[in-house]
Assembly symmetry: C2
Homo-oligomer: 219 residues x 2
């Protein structure tokens, strides 16, 4: 192997760093604020946050959707795990061919809600391989059908929407049905996105976000 | 009425502002990080986030509780509403004598979990009148008893803990049982606490938090 070849396989440190995108809390907050105009056009009756990544954007979004004189949009949380993760030590969210398992779902009965005729916004932080979003949409559509069968109603009257902070421009492992409204605050290449809630040094994290222009707050 | 008396009843603008405490996202993140040492001593098996206020701290906390080689602590979400709020336009979280209603609760059956012998950490943003926390503890204790009756087990083996960002030093409307572990990141007078996720101008909000010393991040 020549020296040239060795060099070619070494990825410079700067290049590794460049593919890691630091996102600050204020940036996430502002992405939600910016997207809220489009989301208001979708007019969600309720929000379903996919945990853990969807919890924070969903809570932020709720403030921006609040209209004077109207009740706050309700946020329901669902938690999905990948089968292989349940008894493993992995922290990865999506794996090749992994089976999605419901760890927490909406308890329609106890919550006293159904999805019939509702406009439902699903919120997650990132659309990576689309596996989780596809699973969520499929399962919600099944719920709608069984609810319509039980109570009456047309499944087509339920409208599903998706909001993610970031859509990674990469081949997806699943397609979403055409009738699903899709809103991504940003599209970006298949970078490693470092969200603030995963950071154990938020000061350094925020500095890096500011350096990368991912935080508009400059005091 | 003399001029002096009139003056005495006027609250200066500065004083009004001083009773509103601005909390930045990074501040919340660091409060969770700081409290995580104490919370690790409690050793939670699972986290129950009270929505909407508990969602964000619970998600942040999860990162700090992660131990290498161990699975992530699961976060379940419950949503409570006050009866008067359900059909009103209010955004207040706690009212005198309001009845607490479960909007979302844990679906033990579908989630495949129970609380028997578990160490359960309840997370909310603020302990104001303690109404919501008291209700949550009471209901979870009922769940534990019925689960122990159904499956066997000693209800006393379940340990409940509470984590809040802020405990307001004010008369509480309810007491917590003595066997509940209580952790508050900060205690403060009965100020108006402005959390970042309620802000529609996060730049100004963060500036004010920094001015008040509620944000250690100073680039």
């Amino acid at each position: 192997m020549s020296t040239e070849e060795v060099k070619a396989t070494v990825v410079p440190y700067d290049e590794v760093e460049a593919t890691k995108v630091y996102i600050s809390y204020n940036n996430v907050h502002q992405l939600c604020q910016e997207a809220s105009a489009k989301i208001k056009e979708f007019k969600p009756d309720l929000i379903i946050a996919i945990g853990g990544g969807g919890f924070i954007p969903a809570r932020m979004l709720r403030s921006f959707l609040k209209e004077p004189g109207m009740p706050t949009t309700r946020v329901y949380a669902i938690i999905l795990s990948l089968y292989e993760d349940l008894n493993s030590v992995s922290t990865q969210n999506e794996k090749l061919g992994a089976e999605v398992v419901r760890t927490q779902w909406i308890d329609y009965e106890k919550s006293g809600i159904d999805l019939i005729g509702k406009r439902v916004l699903i919120v997650d932080e990132v659309d990576d391989t689309r596996t989780t979003l596809h699973y969520t949409v499929s399962e919600l559509k099944k719920d709608v059908i069984s609810q319509c069968q039980a109570k009456g109603g047309n499944p087509e009257d339920t409208k599903l929407g998706i909001f993610v902070l970031h859509d990674k421009l990469k081949p997806k492992k699943a397609d979403l049905p055409k009738d699903v409204t899709y809103i991504a605050a940003r599209q970006l290449p298949d970078y490693w996105i470092a969200y603030p809630w995963e950071s154990t040094d938020i000061v350094t994290h925020t500095r890096k976000a500011i350096e990368q222009g991912n935080d508009v707050f400059l005091p």
